[in-house]
């Protein structure tokens, strides 16, 4: 499966099915994060339900405290 993540094309295992799986893959599962899937923001309550598919465009922005 090929997905565009933050503008970069990524070849991902087909084991990744949901937004949650995707976040865990990028080690972002425990972060405060805003997920946009094909130009729509995904509510955090739906990360385990919404699935990702070949060709999807995903934007991931997580919050950090440093400065």
């Amino acid at each position: 499966m090929v997905i565009h993540v933050n503008g970069e094309q990524r070849e991902l295992s087909n084991d990744i099915q949901t937004v949650s799986d995707l976040l865990n893959h990028f080690e972002l599962g425990d972060k405060k994060i805003i997920v946009e899937l094909n130009a729509n923001i995904v509510d955090s309550s739906q990360h385990e339900e919404i699935t990702v598919q070949d060709g999807d465009r995903v934007e991931l922005v997580h919050f950090v405290g440093g400065g």
């Binding site: 933050n6 972060k31 805003i34 923001i41 934007e59 991931l60 922005v61 950090v64 405290g65 400065g67």
Partner: protein, 339 residues
């Protein structure tokens, strides 16, 4: 107009009128670390009328890699950042009225600081203070610009009361834990990128070109060569306690403050988050392992010893910082370790 500002006056977005606007404006910069010094230098050189920069800390040698207003002398003499920054900024541009304040900003201070301010720049290192800034900005209708960075990653968002979602809309709760510059490090280019985003937004707001303000939450990773921008306007919540109707400004109330207390006779400061939390002690240990201290763990707490200092983290969120009575110093260590 002045030769000094000729190059930015030539720039379409600013012009003569924009420059005159800049010179009438007052900016509050909360924090004089990496983001604070970067933003302060740009705005001082740009000729903003007045800059207030506040910080509770002093300069240390580990700051010099990225905190651009400071020198080895400042670190050797442990000069408060607010003092060192004010001195350097005045050396750069005497037109600007620079006021450096040595101050630990809590709810009492923020209310006073925000009066007569046109813009707040977030240059802090933790979300407790950002939620305070977020509420006070909403209360007084002052725009503010969030910025954050760790390792090679950074992000920024501009919050305009009455127009954009606020930080509380985006996050809903204060994030606990997470990577900090003291646990995973940070490189100066990541800082400068956030500074560029923040200070460009600041110039737009100060010259009153609100149409040019970036609507998106923007992030980047300079090492992984990634960048992202998300339109978050639909996340604005009508019932948000900070910016919805009616607002209650929850983070300006006592119950939602992080509480600190010196424990009598124990040479220890206790820091307690506003709400009981269930701290993930295993994740904490993983995070602390990079720090090179001694870690002990039992089901109830993690004890972390580094040099002459012991910090104990309880599962319910409380943290004891042993070997000191100084609340400001204790909060600094708390945020360094936990974000």
């Amino acid at each position: 107009m002045q030769e000094r500002y000729s190059r930015q006056i030539l720039f379409d977005g600013i012009g003569e009128e924009g420059q005159q606007n800049l010179q009438k404006k007052h900016v509050l910069i909360v924090g004089a670390g990496a983001l604070g010094t970067g933003n302060a230098e740009i705005l001082t050189r740009a000729g903003v009328g007045r800059i207030t920069i506040v910080d509770r800390d002093y300069v240390e040698v580990s700051n010099l890699q990225r905190q651009q207003l400071y020198t080895e002398h400042d670190a050797n003499d442990r000069i408060p950042k607010a003092v060192a920054a004010q001195k350097r900024l005045r050396d750069i541009n005497l037109d600007v009225e620079v006021d450096g304040k040595i101050m630990d900003v809590t709810v009492e201070e923020i209310d006073r600081l925000v009066s007569n301010v046109d813009l707040i720049i977030d240059a802090t290192d933790n979300f407790d203070i950002r939620f305070l800034i977020n509420d006070v900005a909403q209360k007084y209708g002052v725009p503010w610009i969030y910025g954050g960075c760790v390792s090679s990653y950074g992000l920024s968002f501009t919050i305009i009361p009455g127009e954009t979602p606020c930080l509380n809309c985006l996050l809903e709760t204060i994030p606990l834990g997470g990577a900090t510059c003291d646990t995973v490090g940070v490189i100066a280019p990541a800082v400068q990128m956030v500074v560029a985003y923040q200070s460009a937004e600041a110039l737009k707001i100060l010259v009153e070109d609100f149409e040019a303000v970036r609507q998106k939450l923007v992030s980047f990773d300079l090492w992984k060569n990634e960048q992202s921008a998300i339109d978050v306007s639909r996340l604005r919540k009508e019932d948000c306690p900070s910016c919805g109707e009616p607002p209650t400004y929850p983070y300006l109330s006592y119950e939602n403050q992080t509480k600190t207390a010196v424990l009598c006779g124990r040479n220890t400061v206790q820091i307690r988050p506003p709400k009981k939390v269930n701290r993930d002690l295993n994740a904490l240990v993983t995070q602390l392992e990079n720090q090179g201290g001694a870690i002990e763990q039992n089901p109830f707490l993690v004890s972390y010893q580094s040099e002459d200092r012991r910090v104990v983290f309880f599962k319910d969120g409380r943290v004891l910082i042993h070997g000191m009575k100084d609340i400001v110093e204790a909060k600094k260590i708390y945020h360094q370790l936990l974000g």
